[in-house]
Structure formats: structure tokens, C-alpha cells
Symmetry: C2
Subunit: 334 residues, 2 copies
């Protein structure tokens, strides 16, 4: 066709706002220009911060993002299944598909990259959680603590996160290396959820010999631990030190000492691994360039300090003395 006609046609197309039907195009080409992201509890801050890295990176290459929230085990499988025909690639956060699911995905030509989960055959973005656990405990040891507790998630595949267990291993190693006793009493795990921090705080603080410091496997857990401790009248960090893991955004406001991992960067790198794979020229399976290991670092803030005097929960007048007190004086609007 002539150039003028072409222009006119294109103009009309633009004017009418014609857009090819995505389903038909997907069926015909086998490509969707869409990436699936599956994550357990994707509205957790740590996941959101990874997403902040993923979304713009994907958008930059013209990919849409479809989110699969996994809150129960059956959703996990449903997510991995329903992906086929909907996405070109999968970014799985803190979760790995089963080998059966992986076979199916591979057969369907869906590239898979894992973030926050190691794997023998897949490209991954990880941190050394065990080392992270050691870093946290070493910090507490250096401050002079000797009774150090661990608070984490149970592992049931979805509600528990394997990262929590790895961090516990680091905790145990550091405690053992320091020549301290590994007390069962001081290791507490609970299913993921908002109330878990409070329950663990109450348990630990009512021990005959309560800990002087707690390493929580996540910042959210650390924060709820602190809130509960202060509700019980235990001052942080004067009477109890708490260190978290992740360095999510609120931790800055809360002044939480923590082991920081680069969440946003994990998302960017994960997205890039996937895009490279999609572009074709990706490295072979097991290519060392396809395992990205990100660095951890200690961020000292205001919730850890040298151990002070022992406290007793029974002592009187212990209400609301912490600096993290939350005043929710609410007033209804008329």
C-alpha cells in the first residue's frame, strides 16, 4: 500500500482505539507478554518491597504482571497450574514449584526463576540466611547477651517460610560457637500471622529465666514482639534487646535493629534473570551466573543494647513505659 494510505489506516486504528484481543493473540502465538508472580501473602511488606523491584523492571521490557497470592497450601498448587497459557514466565517468591509442576511448566515453555528460594536447576536470587542468623546473634553476643532467644515461623510449606528455619540454623550455630548452651525453651516458632509475636513474647518473658535478647526471624515478628513486651511492661532495649531480619520500611520508623537484606534489588535481579531467559540467550542450566547471591548487613538502631538488670513480670506499675507505645486515641467523626 502507499505510504499515505498506510498513514490513514493507522490513524483510524488509533482513533478507534483498536487493540487485538489478548486471548486470541495468546492462543495463536503462544506468547502472552505477561509474567506470573506467585508469593505467599504478597501484601507482606517484605514481598511488596521485592515487587517494587520487579514491577518496573518488567514494565520496562513491556511485560505485564499477574499476581498469584498464596495463603493456603491448595492455592499454591492452583497457582502453579493455572499459570499455563496465561504467562510466559514465572517468578516464584519464597516458594518452589514441585518437580511435577516444574515438568509441566517446562513442557509448556514457561521459564521459571526463584527469588528467596534456592534450587538445584533453576536460576535463583538468594541471600545467605544462615549467615544472617549468625550476624544477628553475634551482634547480641558482642553486646554481652548470654540468654538469647529465637522467634520464628513454623514450616508447613506456606504458612512457614523456609527462610525462618535457615535463620534459626544460623542462630544455633552462633550460640554453639560461642560455647553457650542451646536451650529448647529459648526457641519458639509459630505459624505465620499477626498474633504470633505476642504469643511468643508472653511465653518467653514468663520463663523462670527469661532471655535478655531475642532474635526474630522477621522484622514484622520483631515489631509485634516489641509491642507485646512493652504491653507487659518490659522496656526495650533497657531490659530486653530485640533484633529482626529484613529491614522493611517500618523498621526505620520503629528504630528496629535488624539484619538488612536488599529486597528491592532481589526483585530487580529476579526479573532480569527471567527476562534474560525469555530473550533466549540465557545461560545453561546450572550456569553460575544464574545464581545471584545478595549481601546482608547489620543495621544497628535502637532496640538492642547491652543487657541491663533482670526484670520480673510481676513488678508493679509496669504499664506503658516503652518508647514504642502506640496511642490509638480514636474519635469518631460526627
Amino acid at each position: 500500500v502507499s505510504d499515505a494510505t498506510r498513514r490513514r489506516v493507522l490513524d483510524v486504528v488509533a482513533e478507534l482505539g483498536y487493540e487485538p484481543n489478548a486471548a486470541a493473540r495468546a492462543l495463536s502465538t503462544g506468547r502472552t507478554r505477561t509474567i506470573g508472580v506467585v508469593a505467599p501473602f504478597f501484601t507482606r511488606s517484605s514481598v511488596i518491597e521485592r515487587l517494587r523491584g520487579i514491577a518496573p523492571r518488567l514494565a520496562a521490557d513491556g511485560y505485564q504482571m499477574i499476581l498469584f497470592d498464596v495463603e493456603r497450601p491448595e492455592q499454591r498448587d492452583a497457582a502453579f497450574r493455572s499459570l499455563i497459557g496465561r504467562v510466559d514466565g514465572l517468578l516464584s517468591i519464597s516458594l518452589a514449584p514441585s518437580t511435577a509442576d516444574l515438568d509441566r511448566l517446562e513442557a509448556a515453555g514457561v521459564s521459571v526463576v526463584l527469588v528467596d528460594h534456592d534450587h538445584e536447576h533453576l536460576p535463583v536470587v538468594i541471600v545467605d540466611d544462615v549467615e544472617g542468623g549468625r550476624i544477628a546473634v553475634r551482634h547480641l553476643l558482642e553486646l554481652g547477651h548470654r540468654r538469647i532467644a529465637f522467634a520464628g515461623d513454623t514450616e508447613d510449606g506456606v504458612h512457614g517460610f523456609p527462610a525462618s528455619s535457615r535463620r534459626r540454623v544460623g542462630y544455633q550455630e552462633a550460640i554453639a560457637t560461642a560455647g553457650l548452651e542451646l536451650s529448647k525453651d529459648l526457641v519458639r516458632v509459630r505459624p505465620h500471622g499477626h498474633a504470633s509475636g505476642g504469643a511468643i513474647a508472653r511465653e518467653l518473658l514468663s520463663l523462670r529465666e527469661p532471655p535478655t535478647a531475642i532474635f526474630a526471624a522477621s522484622d514484622m515478628q520483631a515489631l509485634s514482639l516489641i509491642e507485646a513486651a512493652q504491653g507487659l511492661g518490659v522496656k526495650v532495649p533497657e531490659e530486653l534487646s530485640v533484633i529482626g531480619f529484613d529491614d522493611i520500611e517500618v523498621s526505620r520508623y520503629a528504630g528496629l535493629t535488624t539484619v538488612a537484606q536488599p529486597l528491592g534489588e532481589s526483585g530487580v535481579r529476579g526479573a532480569e534473570l527471567l527476562l534474560a531467559d525469555l530473550a533466549g540467550g540465557a545461560g545453561a542450566e546450572g550456569d553460575p551466573a544464574r545464581v545471584v547471591r545478595l549481601a546482608l548487613r547489620l543495621v544497628r538502631r535502637d532496640t538492642t543494647a547491652p543487657p541491663g538488670q533482670a526484670f520480673h513480670l510481676s513488678r508493679a506499675g509496669r504499664k506503658d513505659r516503652g518508647r514504642h507505645r502506640v496511642t490509638d486515641d480514636m474519635m469518631a467523626t460526627s
Copy 2:
């Protein structure tokens, strides 16, 4: 087929993990069991909290969620266009499609519900932002403030949010009602972004007659305002009161006084409006049952107080005296 055979077939299907191709099914049936959610800067806390309401509600009815992040104007249009053939319904947050896009969506049979945006013909979930602005200012007036500033977003359709402007209107109304002068100097708007709070704080605090209180159109802006003010050595709330809007999660930790809106609920209600529409029996256009108006309430915390003595930026020794100080003592891990 016999019952036994049927069972055997179903077993094999389950074993092989066969799952119909989503694209083919979508093309054939015209339904995708997927809802599109478009939001500007979806990793903002306020959006995330809405998503926390949306995702589980959608999942409960077996719908997947596909997220379209809009950070630039052209992404906005691309999002509304690329939806067709990918989703059965659209939940648009803080953003409304143009009438042209709406026509196209309607022609394609895509139901649309707006959250945080009013509309003449569509089901919407909204709050009364103007009243919210009045609530904030009345609180400051009751504390005794007379020089009250407003800090908000500029409106450019994407980087500015219309909600900010509506809150400004409430601010102006309340100021006028109180018989106070509406000073241009005290109204500051900036494009959405992390640095905006700091810039506005510097501007306002360097005025010959600085405000004794600031109403920020969002909590994020309020928090960055506070951080900047304290960086300048101005104590909050002793020398400067700050009130925000939204009541996002960090606000609790930061002790921020704010006008709270039920973000999670807005998501749930939006999802329900959409599901009802999809289920067919939805009310007619303009049905009052399809505009959900959620209540606002004042949450008093620790960033507002009666006006204290005036401050001067030039005074000496003003560094780091606020309680919101952030200590980012970082130490690299070896």
C-alpha cells in the same frame, strides 16, 4: 460412561495434572476468571492496604488478579487497552478510564468498578475527602492553631491524585469558616514522589511567618515532612504540629495523627461490587446501592499539640532533637 470408568479417567487426569490451557479457554468462552486491578504506584502503602482487601475477596470467588501498575500517563492508557481479552472485570483505583476507554470496555463486556474515584455511571467506593480535609483542619483549630499550612500533590492525572485536591478544598473551607485568612503561601503542592515532603517542609519553615501546623494530604507526605522538619531542628509536635491522611500502617509506629480512612474495607467493598456485577444480578446504572461511601475518623496520636513558642531556623544547636530521629548506623558485614 460407567461410573467406574469415569473415576479412572478423572484419576488419570488428576495424576497427570492436566489443566486446560487458559488462553484457549478464554478465547472460546470469553471469560477469563481474572480481574484486572489498575492503580497508580501500586506499591504505595495506601494501595497495598486496599489490595489486602481486594485479593482475598476475589480469591474467595475463584478469581485471579492481574495488576497493572501505572506510573506514567501512557501506562494509564496502555493498561485500560490491554485489559480486553485478559480480564472479566476491572477495579480501577484512584483513576478513571476515559469515556472512550469505557465504551471499549463496555463493548468487550468488561465490568468496571472504581475505588477512590467518583463517577456518574459506574459503581464506586469513595470517602468524603472534602469533609476529611475539614476534619483535619478543625482538629488543628481546636488545638489553637491559626497559621495552618496545606501540603499535597499536584494533579497531572497520574502523578497527582485528585483526592489531594479534594482534601485541599476541605482545608480551604474550614479555614474560611473559621474566619481566617487563606494565604497562598501556606498552600504547597508537589508532584508525587519521595522528596516532595522535604522540599515543602523547607519552603514552609523558611517563611517569614512559618505555620505552626501542617495538614498533609497523605500520611507518606506527612511523615517525610516530619523527617525534614526534624532534620532542620524543628520539634514535632512542640514547635510544629503535623496531621496526615489515610492512616496507613506505619503511621501507628510513627505516632502520626491522621484522618483515617478504611483502606482495606474499600478493597473488599470494591471487589464485592464487581463480583455482584459479574454475577449478573447487579443493580441498574445509578443504583444508589452501587455507591459505597465509607466513613472517615480522626486518629489523634503524637504529632499534633497546641501551638508552642515560635521557632527560628537560624537558632543554634538545632540538630537532631526530635523523637522521630532515625539512626541508620550501618555496618557492612564482612
